[in-house]
């Protein structure tokens, strides 16, 4: 009897302590998120202000930049093409279902495809390719360099690691996301047309189809495409670099930090994409918010 009562009071006490700590935990989480965002913005500010100075672009920095562009942008082209082609086919399959269901025409399919591709899918796909191929590799590389003391070696020779390592990686990732989004868009349009033609959904020539798509191009498309590629790419790059550099001095931390960096970068891309959609459309689902 006595034991069960004391256990009851014990549980109540634990609950009270947990409840009393809940606001504290929420506050801590909010502060830590705010700190993370501030760190990301600081790193981006530093990177772009360094990139705007001609004196930063020394020969070794240009070499790092070109290597990173080759790895992230050029080598990522095939992946962007493959993924873009696959998504183009998936889109046209969905369009075919709608054509069958409600008797849509090519004139109605083309703008739908175009908007889905340019405003949402291509920027997202490019970010996924870049994070998967390069973002995680960058955080692993920087973490390993930090653990091995290579950052100290640079620092000791009067070479700023921010200028020589972070800035070229961030700028090349942003540039690569933009270029790969363009490539993914092209792949989606081509395979979308080919798939649609094969499925009988699209019955016009390629140039007529392209003309229908381009005729629907407006400034709102640019308003989606540019920030969704540039901003999401910049955030993903900054997160990968920050997480890589935040590793403590043991090599066993490197894989853990890399996987966290990848997850965080992906989360950031989806969140930014959602926030931009809300800001630009001014609505969440059917609800007007702005």
């Amino acid at each position: 009897m006595h034991a069960s009562r004391s256990r009851f009071y014990g549980l109540r006490l634990i609950k009270r302590i947990r409840l009393s700590r809940l606001p504290e935990a929420i506050g801590r989480a909010i502060v830590s998120r705010c700190k993370a965002v501030v760190s990301i913005l600081s790193l981006l500010w530093a990177s772009f202000s360094l990139a705007s100075r001609p004196s930063s672009w020394t020969e070794p920095v240009r070499r790092v930049m070109s290597r990173q562009l080759l790895f992230t942008g050029v080598d990522g082209t095939w992946a962007a093409l493959r993924f873009g082609a696959a998504v183009g086919v998936l889109l046209i399959v969905q369009a075919a279902l709608w054509v069958d269901a409600i008797g849509m025409t090519t004139e109605m399919v083309a703008p739908m495809l175009w908007r889905a591709i340019v405003r949402e899918l291509a920027p997202l796909l490019a970010c996924l390719v870049v994070i998967g191929r390069s973002g995680i590799a960058i955080s692993t590389e920087l973490a390993t360099m930090r653990v091995d003391g290579e950052l100290d070696v640079l620092d000791a020779q009067g070479i700023d690691p921010m200028t020589s390592l972070v800035m070229p990686r961030v700028t090349s990732m942003v540039f690569s996301v933009f270029c790969l989004a363009l490539i993914a868009t092209t792949a989606m349009v081509i395979t979308g047309y080919a798939g649609g033609r094969a499925a009988g959904v699209i019955r016009v020539s390629f140039f007529a189809f392209l003309d229908q798509m381009v005729s629907h191009f407006n400034t709102l498309d640019l308003l989606f495409f540019l920030p969704k590629t540039l901003l999401a790419g910049a955030f993903a790059a900054a997160i990968c670099c920050l997480d890589g550099l935040s590793v403590k001095a043991t090599i066993t931390d490197v894989p853990r930090v890399s996987s966290i960096a990848g997850t965080r970068a992906l989360s950031a891309v989806f969140v930014i994409s959602a926030i931009l959609s809300v800001l630009i459309y001014g609505r969440i689902l059917i609800f007007e918010v702005i």
Binding site: T58, E141, D148, G149, E150, V153, L154, A156, G158, I159
Partner: protein, 246 residues
């Protein structure tokens, strides 16, 4: 772009390094202890510091370079403090220091030759000028050419000699040598001494941290000081201010 006044001042400063009552909490148990250390090192002088064989010198060298801040005391390089957040000044000052590292010394993603010339290229020396300086040092050390393979695939002894070249390449104001004979046979000792005397005669100050037993018996022809590091203090063992010939 105008050169800042401090940048003009450091070029002709004769006192290269000055430590005043510096205290540094050891980073690791084996790190070189620094407790109330004071010394001054002028241009063209050599300071050899005898350390215990089990002592790691890396954190002390980083302290001298301003990568780690002292917990107490004052540390001046060319009359400049490492404090403050004007990082451009810090990086400029560090570009005037050559260093042979103990432990990790290379950027593993670059070839050894790229590593050797990295700082010189980054700080704006022309490729032709760098090639001439590299060839001078290769001739002086009896090497054919720089290795163009990743550091992971090169023997430690060869890497160590390449570290010397990197440290001496840009005629720095200060050279920090952390166990420069590590991995090398005694045949190289004479070449190292000649190299040090050559750069010191051109105004470079040399801080040599080592546990070699015969460090105090070197017959220098340049001003030198020899101190023994014991329990965090640097005890003067011998010094010659005008060179052993005088």
């Amino acid at each position: 772009m105008l050169t800042p006044d401090w940048q003009k001042d450091v070029i002709n400063e004769s006192c290269v390094l000055r430590l005043q009552a510096v205290y540094q909490r050891p980073e690791y148990e084996s790190s070189l202890k620094v407790n109330d250390v004071s010394f001054a090192l002028n241009a063209g002088e050599v300071l050899t510091v005898q350390v215990d064989p089990s002592t790691r010198t890396r954190s002390f060298a980083s302290l001298v370079q301003g990568i780690i801040n002292p917990d107490a005391g004052d540390l001046l390089f060319l009359k400049q403090r490492w404090s403050g957040s004007d990082y451009e000044r810090h990086f400029f000052l560090r570009s005037l220091i050559g260093r042979v590292f103990e432990g990790q010394a290379w950027i593993e993603s670059l070839n050894v030759d790229e590593n050797v010339t990295l700082a010189a290229r980054h700080h704006g020396r022309s490729i032709e000028d760098i090639k001439v300086s590299v060839q001078d040092w290769l001739d002086r050390l009896g090497l054919e050419r720089l290795i163009n393979r990743r550091p992971a695939f090169v023997a430690p002894a060869i890497l160590q000699v390449h570290q010397w070249i990197r440290a001496f390449l840009s005629q720095p104001k200060l050279v920090i040598l952390e166990r420069p004979m590590q991995f090398l046979s005694e045949n190289w000792f004479g070449k190292l001494l000649k190299s040090i005397e050559w750069i010191a005669s051109r105004g470079t100050a040399v801080l040599w941290l080592d546990s070699r037993p015969n460090l105090d018996q070197v017959d220098w022809r340049i001003p030198y000081h020899h101190v023994v590091a014991q329990d965090g203090r640097f005890e003067i063992a011998s010094e010659v201010n005008g060179g052993s010939d005088e």
